[in-house]
Every structure is written in structure tokens, then in C-alpha cells.
Assembly symmetry: C2
Homo-oligomer: 575 residues x 2
């Protein structure tokens, strides 16, 4: 192979793949998700060379879900797929990450630039010589698309893409042709880390916003703080914590914000989601004369069907790319800097706090009935008592996502949900990614998954990947004979909401686990549940625990019923 002049001019020539994977390592990634395919095989050889681990999921959609979960737990993640077939299998998972502001680096091994230029009729193409069609599709769900076609530009493209991914907290798409994988580029660049710092706000503008906010805040009679998804996704939890600690204002989370604040803090008041909230919560939030709304994302399922009764006149919105005080907008002023200055400048002597936040407890006895049936109302507060500090709790679209509102978290519990995108099956992949991140961070924490029987079926095989990597995951599978959430929306007894009955607890065994590696539990009664949740081995197990949890087919959390009714109404609305 002729070494061209450009290569000779390089100080430390290294292959493109080496550069790329070293950058992934540098920004914190330790495991790379994905599946092989002939257009990415040579690139995969460079993964261990960069001290990264290859996860090797069971299919690409699961891998994308896992990458999503991994990024939520560790900060950022990478996914490698093959051209066409692999990347399109993953596209729904990546779209979810886009929708929910999760930074996933999607690297697609694609045909060589020579094959592309010659329009070759290759496998994994549409047969029309168009090699950009999939990148175009992905551009809709990526904040940056990098086509690595020219060695002279590749390092810059990679660095830019990774920075965009992190800053915007959204997926980027990197198209890596087979003939570029081993092209030599400048390795000396690696000596300078990529700058991932948030672009600072313009000082004068930022100060102006802080002043305005403080003016309202000092004047308010019963201000509250409401924390939503984007506070998590755009990494403002330290600022939020400090604000809560200093101001001691009542603080609430939305469903998508659950886990964002310490729920044992004295001023934590619970989950606010409009009419789906507990009455005392709804009352306090909606009677507040100033809502500091941080990172809000007011989707239907996050607001019990748009049922907020707060007024914009009483609201200050903090967002990742702008702030809004009542109706005054401040584009380009990111919340992070503003919140930090608020913490520094707020005059706590000027704060009034007329109403105390409702006390949040796991209402176990209040929801216990005489029967042995495990009801939704009973289960969620009860499981709240089972949670421990630092658990990572993953919940799936369905009854779980609404039930979890009624579980109070111990400190430092991370909540992982996909309420806006709401793709079922996601949680099984995501739990794998979360548990992998925990392992990579060398932390001793539990990943606890709540997933419906319907959702589980879509992505069941990702349990195989959990086993392969000996991940620590406790799965509660809600066994309620089908798509209960859909029944609540439409078709209570419709056949299309039924599913086949699997022998769920045998799934790990079929995937090759021995009985020593996995705990299997079929739990049909409150007594059995109490016994399980009290069991030391179950609580402390390091591997996979699989619980099939029987719950009534037509039973649903209160908030789900309300949301479902509103969805049905909205769907049916005609002009």
C-alpha cells in the first residue's frame, strides 16, 4: 500500500478506527453496544485495542435500547451497527434517544467509498445505488451526521460529532466506510481532550435573567420548584440540589423527572402531573404563585393528559437552550448558568414559604386490602419500601410507568423511564445498558426493572446479554395477561390486547443460565411478595433475579386510568 504524502506529514499516524474508539474511551465510554456485520467487522477489531468492551447484544433494537440505558446511567454511550439492515433495526431505539435527549453515538459501518462511488449493487442496499438514503433517514433523529469519507477531515468530524452529542444530549450518526477504517490520520490530536464544556451564556444576558428571576422569587408568597426530565438529561441536578438545599422551598418532580431530587429531603412534596397527582400535591402546586419549572417537558403522558392547572403568569421556565419568565423569553440563555447564579445570589431571608410540602411516605398500609391479590395500589408503595439507596429503577410504558409515581425513593435512587417516546420493550434493553454502566463504573448497585408481560415479549432475548455479562438485574415482570394500558384506552376485552402466556421464569434457563446463576420467583399473593421482599438473598443477589408477579388483568394505577381516558378522548375528537 502506497503511503501518500499526506500520511507522511502526520506526526503520529494512527488508523481512523483507533482514533474514534480512543475518543469514545476518553469521554467516558467503557462498553460499546451493537452487532457485527461485514461492513463493520474490521472496525470492531479496534474496540479492545482502545480498552473498550464489546457488548454484543442479541439484536440491534435491543442494542440501541441498551445504549440508551447506558447513556442515562453513565452519561453517554456508543452503538455500532452495520449498513442498512443493522442501523434500520436500531432506528426506533435511536429515535427514542433523540426524543428523550439521550446522547448516543451511533456508528454505522458502511460500504467503502469506492463501492459507493461506483454505485455497486451490494447486499444491504435498496438496490438503487443510493448509499445516502439511510443516513438521510437518520439525520431526522440525530443532532449531527458525520460521513467519514475524506481522511483529511475525519478527526475534526469525529471530535465535532462527539461534542455535539454531549452538548445537545442527543444522538449523532457517524457513517464509517470500510476503506476509511484503517486510513491513517493525526493521532497527536488525541493528546488534547475534546472540549465538552457547556458553552457559557453571555454574562450580561445571564445576569439580567437571574435578576428578573430573583425579583419574582423574592416577591412570591409560596414559590415551589418543579423538576422535570431535561434537568436530568442536561445535567443540572447539582444546581437543582443546591437550589433546594439553600432555598428549602417545596420541591416536586414530574413523572419524567422522578429520581431527580432526594425524596427524603424535608421539602420534597411528591410527583406533580396535573390531575394524576395526589390531591395535596396538586393543590399546593396549582395554588403556588411562582413555579420554578426546571427542564420541563409537558407531554401528554407526563402531565396526565395536559391537565396542569398552573398559569404561565406564575411560571418561570428553565430550559437547556432558553429561559422564560412568565411570557418573556430569553433565547440562548441556558439554565445551567442561571441556576448556579440563582443559588449564589438568592437572599434566603427574603423568601417566604407559606405552605409546607405534603409529607411523602410509601402508603403501604393505607393501600393494603384484606385479599391476597397483589393490586397495583398496594404494590407500588410496598416496593418503595424495598428500594435501597443508589438503586437504579427502570420502568416500562404500561402500568409500571404510572405505578412508580406511588413509590417513594430512598436517596440517590436513579429513575429511568421513557415516558415521552414510550416504545415498549425498551426497558429490557435499557436495563441491560444501565446494569452494564453500573458494572463499568465499578459500583455496587442494584438495577431493578419493572416491565409488563406484553412489553417484555418484544425484547425478551436481551436477558441473554445480561446473563452473558453476568449483570446484576432484578426483573419484576408484571404478569397481568396482556396489554392492560391499552385495554384502559380502548378494547378492554379485545383480542388484540391479549398475548400468549409464556413461562417467563424459565426464560433465563433457556438462554443457558444455570439455577445457581439466576433466581426464579413466581409471586401470586401478598404473602409471597412480603416473603420475597424480606429475603436477604433476594435483596443482595449479585446476578439475575426474575420475578413473575401476578396482578389482575383489569387493574391499573389511578394515574394511568386518568391518562388513558384523556388519550382515548383526544384520539376520538372530531371536528
Amino acid at each position: 500500500m502506497a503511503i501518500d504524502i499526506r500520511t507522511q506529514a502526520l506526526k503520529k499516524p494512527i488508523p481512523v478506527a483507533h482514533y474514534l474508539f480512543n475518543r469514545l474511551y476518553e469521554i467516558g465510554i467503557r462498553s460499546v453496544h451493537g452487532l457485527p456485520g461485514d461492513f463493520n467487522l474490521v472496525a470492531l477489531d479496534y474496540i479492545p485495542k482502545a480498552k473498550l468492551k464489546w457488548v454484543g447484544s442479541v439484536n440491534e433494537l435491543n442494542a440501541a435500547y441498551a445504549a440508551d440505558g447506558y447513556a442515562r446511567a453513565l452519561g453517554i454511550s456508543a452503538l455500532v451497527t452495520t449498513f442498512g439492515v443493522g442501523e434500520l433495526s436500531a432506528v426506533n431505539g435511536v429515535a427514542g434517544a433523540y426524543s428523550e435527549h439521550v446522547p448516543v453515538v451511533h456508528i454505522v459501518g458502511c460500504p467503502s467509498t469506492i463501492s459507493q462511488r461506483n454505485g455497486m449493487l451490494l447486499h444491504h442496499t435498496l438496490g438503487n445505488g443510493d448509499f445516502n438514503v439511510f443516513a438521510n433517514m437518520s439525520s431526522q433523529i440525530s443532532c449531527n451526521v458525520a460521513r467519514l469519507n475524506n481522511p483529511a477531515e475525519i478527526a475534526e468530524q469525529i471530535d465535532f460529532a462527539l461534542r455535539e452529542c454531549w452538548i445537545h444530549s442527543r444522538p449523532v450518526y457517524i457513517m464509517l466506510p470500510t476503506d476509511m477504517v484503517e486510513k491513517q490520520i493525526e493521532g497527536a490530536r488525541l493528546d488534547t481532550p475534546i472540549d465538552l464544556s457547556d458553552p457559557p451564556n453571555e454574562t450580561e444576558r445571564e445576569d439580567y435573567v437571574v435578576d428578573v428571576v430573583l425579583r419574582y422569587l423574592h416577591a412570591a408568597k409560596n414559590p415551589i420548584i418543579l423538576v422535570d426530565a431535561c434537568a436530568i438529561r442536561h445535567r443540572c441536578l447539582d444546581e437543582v440540589r443546591d437550589l433546594v438545599d439553600k432555598t428549602k422551598l417545596p420541591v416536586f418532580v414530574t413523572p419524567m423527572g422522578k429520581g431527580a431530587v432526594n425524596e427524603t429531603s424535608p421539602t420534597y412534596g411528591g410527583v406533580y402531573a396535573g390531575s394524576g397527582s395526589q390531591p395535596a400535591v396538586q393543590d399546593l402546586v396549582e395554588s403556588s404563585d411562582l413555579v420554578l419549572s426546571i427542564g420541563s417537558l409537558k407531554s401528554d403522558f407526563n402531565t396526565t393528559g395536559f391537565s396542569y392547572r398552573t398559569s404561565q403568569l406564575n411560571t418561570i421556565d428553565f430550559h437547556s437552550d432558553h429561559c422564560k419568565v412568565r411570557y418573556s423569553e430569553y433565547p440562548g440563555v441556558a439554565m445551567k448558568g442561571v441556576l448556579r447564579k440563582l443559588v449564589e445570589r438568592v437572599d434566603t431571608t427574603k423568601l417566604s414559604n407559606e405552605k409546607l410540602a405534603p409529607k411523602v411516605v410509601n402508603e403501604v398500609s393505607e393501600n393494603r386490602d384484606d385479599s391476597e391479590t397483589i393490586t397495583q395500589a398496594f404494590f407500588w408503595p410496598r416496593v418503595g419500601e424495598y428500594f435501597k439507596e443508589k438503586d437504579l429503577v427502570v420502568t416500562e410504558t404500561g402500568t409500571s410507568n404510572f405505578g412508580i409515581w406511588e413509590s417513594k425513593f430512598p436517596p440517590d435512587v436513579v429513575g429511568v423511564t421513557q415516558i415521552l417516546w414510550g416504545s415498549i420493550g425498551w426497558s429490557v434493553g435499557a436495563a441491560q445498558g444501565v446494569a452494564m454502566a453500573v458494572k463499568d463504573m465499578e459500583e455496587d448497585r442494584r438495577t431493578i426493572l419493572f416491565v409488563g408481560d406484553g412489553s417484555f415479549q418484544l425484547t425478551a432475548q436481551e436477558v441473554s446479554t445480561m446473563l452473558k455479562h453476568k449483570l446484576r438485574v432484578t426483573i419484576f415482570l408484571i404478569y397481568n395477561d396482556g396489554y392492560t394500558i391499552e385495554r384502559c384506552i380502548h378494547g378492554m376485552e379485545a383480542e388484540y390486547n391479549d398475548i400468549s402466556r409464556w413461562n417467563y421464569t424459565e426464560i433465563p434457563t433457556v438462554f443457558g443460565a444455570t439455577d445457581k446463576e439466576v433466581g426464579k420467583h413466581i409471586i401470586k399473593t401478598k404473602t409471597e411478595l412480603e416473603k420475597l421482599l424480606a429475603d436477604k438473598d433476594f435483596n443482595e443477589a449479585k446476578g439475575l433475579q426474575f420475578v413473575e408477579l401476578w396482578m389482575p388483568k383489569h387493574d391499573a394505577p389511578r394515574a394511568l386510568k386518568l391518562t388513558a381516558e384523556q388519550s382515548a378522548r383526544n384520539n376520538a375528537l372530531m371536528e
Copy 2:
């Protein structure tokens, strides 16, 4: 609900969903694939009303694969998914159908036109108020996109979309908003069936092409016929059969064309794929002075890496939308009409046929070695003997897709492969669809699936749908410890080509099957294989048979090795 003037003017007002599903029934569909979601639930109520069956797959990708298989077996199929999450999960399956010319009607239940207009922040959106983004993505892999937003146009849009789907033999995308599902439209239109007839060629042009072809054909010394994928997909098999029967010319199929001609016909000569062909086949085809190439699709995996040594000067190409005689092109002249006239007008006394087609047999004894190991070389001819008339044989990307070249089919065997798109896991879904189509056509035929252990893992849960509908499927799972085809391309011992070992034959049991419903067979030796293939119960079983077939990890069919080498070379090629 106010009945508007337009509705009053309708002769037989019926709901949109009723119209749509009745049209699907009319064009031959009996089962509708897909998954529910709140944006399609009300529409699903209309499926049984149109005498259609709801399949209810386990996830959307599997459903799309199944719809692809169903269409290949029955002619056309339908897939219903929900907005965003459902449709994007299916997109890789639909792209495969587009790539491989398979007519699938993809119906996506989406938010109401009112929600869309108001840009509501609904679940299953990207959170940006853009409700067209997914339709735009799908437009790349659909020959028609119909957004059913205006009742006055909907019937016409549906009829047009279904016609396009059929005529072009490619997917169409129909976006059905919740508020349109029950809008009244003109039911009287249903009295007139949709015209699905192929648009005829212009007579003078068609006659001209036929004359030219005949001139070359009558002059040729050893013309042959080569039948490829598009002959199947564009429904020209009757014309092909009549041409072969009348001319008695040697006829060959490509890998993607396998099953297109009667392999017991005296002039059938085998599979031609360039250097991957049997030597006698390659010799005869490449020395022919006139190749009548019908529906060719010369992708890398269909040609052993572009290794044809035929000359365009000796070739006449018949395509669905044009013909080409040597270098003369005839756009707009579709092969179907041309082939029919060729059959009618060919003067058999003027045909010469200097070389006889090689005799095709299943070379079982030739490939039997002394060991008990089931080799690829031995297996495929042997299984050729096991096939029966009218079997439907589904093969997966991997060793199966190449091995099957060495199996001779009895008459009326249908071959189902996805060689161009090549998405692994496809075959499990496709086999469900094929078997469902057989059931719907009330035919007593076997669906036989050959799938690698790696591929199977991606879509394993579709076996659950086979069981739910008591489909008749025999699964041969090639148990060879991972991605053998990828090993042949790159990374023979690489970890990323390994997979977890599952207890495959227990999969049906975990999905709820009793031992009466399913036959489980672990086959490690030639003796065990012989016994199984001779077993009457196995041969005639009406339900699911699951065979775990042990084959050596590094063993691959001859043609696969050649193709893999060429792929690796092509991927690595640098300038």
C-alpha cells in the same frame, strides 16, 4: 356528532377503516400483521368486521418480516403499526420488502389531524411537533405514501396506494389519523374492484422488441434461459414456465431465483451464480451465445461477488419496467407481455440447442464422508431428498442461503430467501408469514425453515406467534456456535462472532407449547439425521417441529466461502 352535508350526499356511507380493510380482503389478504398501539386501536376493531384475521405478532420488526413472508407466499400483505415507535421498529423489515420487491401495505395509526395541526406534545413523537418526520423516512422505502387527512380524498388515495403496491410489487405507506378512522366515505365504490391488471405495453413497441428478441433467438446456437428474482416478484412464472416448456432450452436459476422453475424439468440445469456455480453450470451458461435473462438482480451475494463471465453482447434482459437487447434499451416495455408473445411466436423448428443442460441431482453419496459429522456439503443435498412437492422452503442469510443451492427441489417447491437485503432474523418472521399464508389459502403444505443460531436469536419470539396460530412449520436451526458467515468474511476466531449458547429446542416450551404440540429434536450425527428425515411423524407433522442441527463451527458451503472472500476483498479495497 353532526352529519355534514358531504356525508349526506354519500350513497352508502361507511367508515374509512371499513373501506380500507374491505379493500384488503378484496385483493386477497386474509390475515393482517402488526401490533396494537393507542393510535390504531379503534381501527383494529374493523379487522374482524372485514372478515380478516388479526395475527398479533410479538414485535413490529417480526411483524414486518412476517408480512414480507406472507406477501411472498400469497401475493400481497398488510401490516398495521402505531405511530413512531411501532412503525420505526418495523422500518427495517419494510425496507427489506422494498429492496426485494415485495408488496406490503403498511398502515400506520397516527395522531388525529387535530392533534397534528395543534402540534401537540404527544407520546410517540420527537417532541418537536413534527408529525411528518416518520412518513418522510418511510417515503424512502415505499412506492407510495398516502396521508389520509381529508375524507373527500381518502377512498381514492387508498385505491391508488393499493394499486401501486401491487403493480410495482413494493411497499406503500398509509398514514391513518385516529379522527379519520370512523369518518364516513363512499362505500358504493367497493362495488367496483380495484383494477390490479398490469398496464399493457404499447403494442407496436412490444412487437418490435419481440421481433428483435426472436431474431437473436432463432439465430443463436446454444441459447439458455436464466431466471432471477424479479421473475418471481413481478409474477412472470407462468410465462417462464411456458417458455421453457415450449422451447425446451436449458434453464437455470440464480440464487434469488431458486424455486422459480420446475427443477425436475428435463432441461433444468441448476443454479448459476458465476464462480459459485457447479463447474458444468458455469461452463454452459458462460459459453452460451444467448442468455435470456429474466428478472435479473445482480447483487454481490446473488452472483458470488459479481463473478458472472457472461457478456452483455450475448444477453437479452427482461425486466418489469424495461427490456434490453445487448446494448439496446427499451424503457417502458415490461417483460410480462413480451414473454407471453415470445411463447406464442417462437418458431421451435428454428431453435438450436447444441449443449444439453447438466443433469441436476441431489449429490448425497458424493458428499457423504466416513464421519458422523453433519457437514454443510453433505447436509444440503441430503435435505433435498427430504423435500416434497409444494413445500415452502425459507432460508436465512448465513450458511443456509448458500447451502440451499445444492438442494434440488421437487416440483412446485417455493423458495423464499432475502439475499439482497440480507437482514438476519428475517427468516423466522418470514416463515411465520409464509405458514400463515398457506393456512389462509387452505393448502396442505409444509413450511420448512433453515436458520442459523445467530440469526435465530434476533427474532426468536416469533415462534410464539407460530404456536398461537398453530402454524405448520419445521425449523432446522443450524447450531454452529455463532456467526459462521461473518467468520468467513473477517474474524474467524473473533469474540464478536461468538454468541451465547441457548437451549433452542426448549424455546417453544417456554412460549407455552405442550410436548404434544411440538416436536423437539437435537441432531448431532448423520445417523440421527437419517433417522429423523425418514420418520413419518416428523415428515407429516401438522404443528411445529424444532430441529437443533449440529454442524461444525468453521464449516461453510463452497459458494459462501467464495462470496465471503470477495466481500472481504471489496471492503478492504483502497485507492
